[in-house]
Chain length 408, copies 2
Amino acid sequence: MKKTRLKKYAELIVKMGINVQKGQDVIINCGLDQPEFVKMVVDYCYKFGARKVTVDWYYQPLDKLHNRYCSIKTLASVEKWQLEKWQHRVDTLPAILFIDSDNPDGLKGINEEKSAKARMKSYPLIKPFRDAMENKYQWCIAAVPGKEWAKKIFPNLSTAKAMEKLWEAILYTARVDEDPIKAWELHNKDLADRCAYLNSLHLKNLYYKSNNGTNFRVGLLPNALFMGGEEVTLDRNIHFNPNIPSEECFTSPRKGDIEGVVYASKPLSYNGQLIENFWFKFENGRVTEVHAEKGEEVLRHMVKMDDGASMLGEVALIPYKSPISDLNILFYNTLFDENASCHLALGTGFTNAIKDFEKYTNEELHEMGINESMIHVDFMIGNKDLSIVGETMSGEKIQIFKDGNWAF
Amino acid sequence: MKKTRLKKYAELIVKMGINVQKGQDVIINCGLDQPEFVKMVVDYCYKFGARKVTVDWYYQPLDKLHNRYCSIKTLASVEKWQLEKWQHRVDTLPAILFIDSDNPDGLKGINEEKSAKARMKSYPLIKPFRDAMENKYQWCIAAVPGKEWAKKIFPNLSTAKAMEKLWEAILYTARVDEDPIKAWELHNKDLADRCAYLNSLHLKNLYYKSNNGTNFRVGLLPNALFMGGEEVTLDRNIHFNPNIPSEECFTSPRKGDIEGVVYASKPLSYNGQLIENFWFKFENGRVTEVHAEKGEEVLRHMVKMDDGASMLGEVALIPYKSPISDLNILFYNTLFDENASCHLALGTGFTNAIKDFEKYTNEELHEMGINESMIHVDFMIGNKDLSIVGETMSGEKIQIFKDGNWAF
C-alpha cells in the first residue's frame, strides 16, 4: 500500500474520526499488526495539537492464555490504580481511538462462561466512569489489516496478497481517495438528509419481512431520532465520526416493544468467536429463543450478560446495495459487515438518540425506553428481499425498504 | 529458529530469570518485535503459577514523536493513577521482566536536553516507590531480536538472515542448549566461586592500565562484596538471575574515590542513541572531562542528570576471552557488550553489594559510600592488553587481570 494513501487515511481518522482538539489527550487502543500506520496516526494527533498521545497496545492471543489460567476473580479484578485511571479519563475527556485488526475467531475455544462471568463482575465497577463520560468525548473505531483476519477473508491468497487486498477494501470503504475529508463532508451531509426524512415520518413501528423467515416488529420511541454519520459531544460541541466506515441511519427502539422472529444474514464475530447461521425469537421485547448452527453457546451467554442483554438497543437501516456491500466481501467484522446490511444490536441503546437528550439525566433517558446493558452487539439481518414497512403515529403505512434497498 | 529451542529459552527466562512464584503477579515490558515468543513466556509464567501476567508493550519509534511534540512538563508528568500503579507494585511485589529488542540508535537525533530534563523532573516522584521495592522483587533483563537491531549488527545480511543470526547469538550467549537450566546452575556456581576468591583478597584499590590510554584507580569499600550470577530477594529469599546472559563479577566502588583517565573500548547505546570512541577523566571520584567522537552531547547531558550521575556505581570484571566475546560480535547493546568486556557504570550503585545489607537502611548504605543516582549506565573498557592490579588492605599488590584476562 502506498504510503501517501495510508497517510491520507491516518489524517482522516484523526481529523474526521476523533477530531483531536488543541491541548487534548488522545488514547489509541490497537493490536500489534500495523505499528508503522499507528505511528502515522500518532504523528497527525500531535500535528492537530494533541497534548499527549498514549498507545495501549494489545495482543489478542494473550487473552486466550489469561482466560485459560486466571481465576474469574483475577480476570474480574479492577485495582485501585485502574479506577484512578478511569477517573483521570472522566476528568480530562481524552479522544479515544480504537484501531481494530483482530482475528475474527482469534479467541475460538475459550471458556466463554468464565469470560462472561468475569466481565459481569468487573462491569459494575467501571460503569460509573463510563456513565460520567457518556456523550462527552470523541471516539472512533477504524480498522487496519491483521494477517489472520486477512487470511480469514481471503483464504486462497498468500498472506501478503490477502493483506494488500484487505488494505484496498478498508481504504475503499473509508472513502480514502483524492480528498477523503471532502468526501466525508459530503457523505455526512447525505446521511443527515436521509435521517431528516426518516424523522419527518414520525414512525412508531417498523415491520420487517424476508423469505429467510424474518418476520417481526420493532416499536420506536416518539422522541427518538434517526442519526447517521458524524456526532457531536455534549458541552464542547466537537464533531466526530464514531465509525469509519459508516453507512447507516440508526436509532434506539422502544425497550420491551419487539415481537417476532429475526434471522441473521451474516456471521457475527463476538469477543473473538464466530457465530454462524443464527436466529432469535423476541416476545415482549425480549429474546426468548436462541438458535445458532455454530457458536450457540456463546450467543446464549451473551443474552444473559445482564437484564438488558436480551433486548434491543439499536435499529439500523442500510441498503443492500451500498459501497461496502458492492465489494461483495464478507469481512467477519462488525464495523464493515454492519455497514453493508440492515442490522440490529442487542444491549445498550443510544441515549443521545433522544431529542434534546442533554436536558435529561441518564436515568431519565433509560426510563423513557432506551435500553441499558453492559453489551452492545450488532448483528446483520439485511438481505436482497428484505421489506421494511413503517407505521406512522397516525397509523399510515409507508414502505421504507423494498427488495433490500431504500423504497424512497 | 526452532520452536523447541525458543521454548527452552522462554522457560529459562521464567524459571531462572525471574523465577516466578506461585500466586505472584508478573509484568513484562517489551517491544513489538517477537509477540509469539512473548506469548511463550506468558504461558510459562502461568505454568509456574503466576496469578496474573501483564504485558506492557511499547514501540520505540513513538518515543521520538513524544520527544518532538510534547512539552517537558507533559513528558515529565506523572498522573495520580500512575503513582497508584507504583504503589500497587510496592504492595504486591510482582516479578518484572524486560525483553529488549530495541534499535541501538532508534532515538538518534532526539532533543536530548528535553529528554533529560523531563526524566530529571519525573524521577523524584517515582523514586520513593523504587526505593520501597529495592532488593525485594525478582527482575530480569533478557533480549530477543528486533529487525533494526539485527541489521545494525549484520548490515550485509538480508533482514531475515540477520534476524536468524541474532537469534543464534542470543541463544548461544544465554546457554540455550540441551539443558539450559542445568547449564545456568553450573554457571552460577562458577561465578560464585570466582567472587568468593575476589572477596577473600580484601582489596582496597584496583589499578587499570592499557595502551589505549586507560590509566586509573578505583577505590573499593571494605565491606562491599563482589557478586555475580544469581541474586536473592530480601524477606522472601527468592533466587533470580537479573541478567541473561551474565558473565560478570561486579561490585560497587567507593563513591568519590576514583582517579585518572578511562577509555571506552566499545560503543554505547544510551536511550536509543549511539555514543562512540569516548573517554572520561575522573578527579576525586567525579567525571571532570568528557570526550566522544560521536554522541558527546548525549554523554554531557548524561553525567549532569543529578549529583550521582558523574560518579561510578559499578566495577565489573569479565575476561576478554569469554563465551560472548568469542562470538566476536559487537551487539551495540549493553546486556551483551558489557558481558564481553570489563566495564564500569556511571550512576547508582548496588546497595546489596554491602555485606549484610539487609541490616541497614538505604540511607545508611549510601552513607557508607554506595553511589546514588537516577541513572545507571554501563560502559565497556576491557580490551586485549588491559591490566588490573589489586591492592589489598595490607598494601600487597596482586595481578587480577593480565592481557585482558583473569591473571589467576
